[in-house]
């Protein structure tokens, strides 16, 4: 497992490790407790989502896209719907835009609460972990009552939303927001006063303003370094054009800054949800959209909880997309991680990785595979066969599951 030369230890974090919630491998070269080199290995979670999308219709793709990420599912489907709506030239009803924003902000709340819990767990502060996850349940309960599911809500559809908000749900949401606001104030208090917490987070995993721009980091990682990068403000879409959104930034540029940014962003999300519910316009939920999408290509950008999410769709005039490209926010944040880890200590590695809120399976892509005969393209069936064969070689025969 370890190679030793010049007293340096190669310390593997992953593919299976308690601090990772998805398989991924970080080979950390240690000199004592100091990290002198970090090699990031992703790709354990490739699911071939983009390729799958090219063989299904747009409506079917919506369900696949919703499952790109288990946490920011709504952000992905919003971006996908926005892209198709732009290609077909329809504009969705006001009420649908507002409902999309409400769900998006609820999703941000639950994502950030989840992150806060995970981050506290990484630094061995399990009490906070239990508290935040308890509060996250409240948000999940609302999302379940809105969409019917805890994580994949299925609220979006091409041309609007599928679920309406009635008076009782609105009252429920407002009540929960009041309760959550109190809790978030408490977390803000803990994060700014608890000394062991601050000493563990401050100065760790620094990514300065220049580095953020150099590595192209997005979302809370960028905002913690004072980069005002928030698609909701810089390039508003949907109902965000009318809703006042304040960018939360920080100047710490480290893990502590990212924590503070996320906590105050939750506060901001609560304000946005309140504004939306109080100003929810009446009207229909969907407009009719044609099944066949006119030929063309389009990019849609959405602010997911983890940062900027980009969807690219190329249409050839049929009801099946020619190419779908999903740039999940984690994909942009990976590049800075090596820089953040090196020069730090082993104890800070898990929290530094966690601080970008990585979403491994959203990120893993493979379109070409290197083989002995050089580089070749693989189509969907060949790739599937390759996977089955590869596992067979490892002694795992997946075909027995097929009846």
């Amino acid at each position: 497992m370890s190679e030793k030369n010049n007293n340096n230890i190669v310390f593997p974090i992953g593919p299976q490790h308690p601090s990772l919630d998805e398989p991924s491998c970080f080979n950390i070269t240690l000199e004592g407790e100091k990290v002198i080199n970090a090699v990031i290995g992703v790709g354990y979670n490739h699911r071939g989502l983009e390729k799958t999308c090219e063989s299904k219709t747009y409506i079917q793709d919506l369900y696949i896209i919703e499952r790109v990420c288990g946490i920011c599912s709504h952000a992905h489907s919003t971006a996908f719907c926005m892209a198709i709506e732009e290609l077909t030239g329809v504009s969705i009803p006001k009420r649908a835009e507002y409902i999309r924003v409400i769900v998006a902000e609820l999703e941000r709340l639950h994502s950030h609460l989840l992150w806060l819990g995970v981050a506290c767990h990484e630094i061995g502060f399990d009490t906070m972990f239990m508290y935040t996850w308890r509060n996250r349940e409240k948000v999940l309960d609302i999302l379940a009552s809105v969409g019917g599911n805890r994580v994949n809500y299925g609220v979006n559809t091409i041309g609007g939303v599928r679920r309406d908000l009635d008076e009782s749900i609105n009252a429920d949401i407002l009540k929960t927001m009041d309760a959550l606001e109190e809790e978030i104030k408490y977390y803000a208090d803990v994060a700014t006063t608890e000394t062991t917490l601050i000493s563990r987070l401050k100065g760790i995993g620094r990514l300065s303003h220049e580095d953020v721009i150099k590595f192209g980091a997005v979302g809370p990682v960028a905002r913690a370094a004072g980069v005002e990068d928030d698609i909701r403000v810089t390039e508003p879409y949907g109902a965000y054009k009318e809703i006042p959104v304040h960018i939360v930034t920080d100047t710490n540029a480290d893990v502590y800054g990212r924590t503070v940014v996320r906590i105050f962003e939750m506060q901001e999300s609560i304000n946005i949800i309140r504004f939306c519910i109080n100003n929810l316009p009446d009207g229909p939920l969907t407009v009719r959209t044609p099944r066949r999408v006119p030929a063309g290509e389009v990019i849609a950008r959405v602010e997911a909880p983890r940062g900027e999410d980009i969807h690219y769709i190329r249409s050839n005039g049929t009801d099946i997309p020619d190419r779908v490209r999903v740039r999940a926010p984690t994909e942009a944040n990976w590049h800075g991680v090596k820089h953040m880890l090196e020069g730090g200590y082993l104890a800070d590695v898990p929290i530094t990785i966690a601080a970008i809120d990585p979403c491994y399976s959203c990120t893993d892509r493979a379109t070409i595979v290197k083989s002995e005969s050089g580089i070749r393209d693989m189509d969907w069936r060949a790739m599937r066969q390759y996977g089955i064969d590869w596992y067979k070689k490892q002694g795992i025969d997946l075909t027995v599951f097929k009846r």
């Binding site: 497992m1 370890s2 230890i9 190669v10 310390f11 593997p12 490790h17 308690p18 601090s19 240690l30 407790e33 506290c120 767990h121 990484e122 630094i123 061995g124 502060f125 399990d126 009490t127 239990m130 508290y131 308890r134 608890e194 062991t196 917490l197 000493s199 563990r200 200590y345 082993l346 104890a347 800070d348 590695v349 898990p350």
Partner: protein, 295 residues
Amino acid sequence: MSVYSFILEFVDRKMYAHMQNREGPHWYQPVADFFKLIGKKTIIPADANERIFRAMPFVTLAAVTAAFLYIPVLGGKAVFSFSGDIIIVLYFLTVPPLAKFLAGWYSRDVYATLGAVRILTQMFAYEVPLFISVLAPTLLAGTWSITEMAAFYNEHPLYALINIPAMVIAIISFQCKLERAPFDSPEAETEIVSGVLVEYSGRLLAFFKMAMDSEMVLVISLFSAIFLPFVTGIVWVDFLLYIVKTLAVLLVLTLMRVTMARLEINHIVMFCWKYLAPVALGQVVINLLIRGALQ
């Protein structure tokens, strides 16, 4: 003692859970865990030194049990007692970290090795403040025997108040010794999986866990014998008093575990040497001066 270690583990886990807004385990959970592990297969890594790997859980348990004989539980008297037994107890207390270091080192695993190195580093950090703070009360009592010292403080209960700074230092260093949060860096789950215990399984793991729980009983009993040495003379009342005292100490230890995040190993070393050791030394000077004034 092992029965009491199960009870203390349960109380610790239950309190920990309640402070975190959770339900917590059933009262029989620690015993169930122990017997379940006993029934599991023991796997020893091919690279490990088998003899040391097998011996270390029992060495730890033996050292802890031997030390426990010198601590007064029922009333003011321990099972064995002679002048100088506190030194013996402190020596026995250094065995568990060393045994764990050997267990980790000879597991030949990168996580276990790092955990082992961290255990030794942490030992260098807490050992000095711990020893000084435990020895300060004995200097005031003028004896090296735990039993005699308890008798001294029973005669002069107010003198125990002088030892309060040493008491604070001792409880922090004991938490550090037990490798519990915020000093659980040697077994940090999210960094080095579980440190030295990573390769242990089955019966050996069960006994290692039991040894560690017993170490907690030993440390808490030692703490209450040195810093809360109040007894009534009636055996069953004293036993109840012992339970109350140990539970109170455990409450403090659990509170520390709940309210703090894990410290890094270099922060622990700095904290121990910068703050704990000087305060403990100060206590020794104060106690020597008072002792001098008394005579």
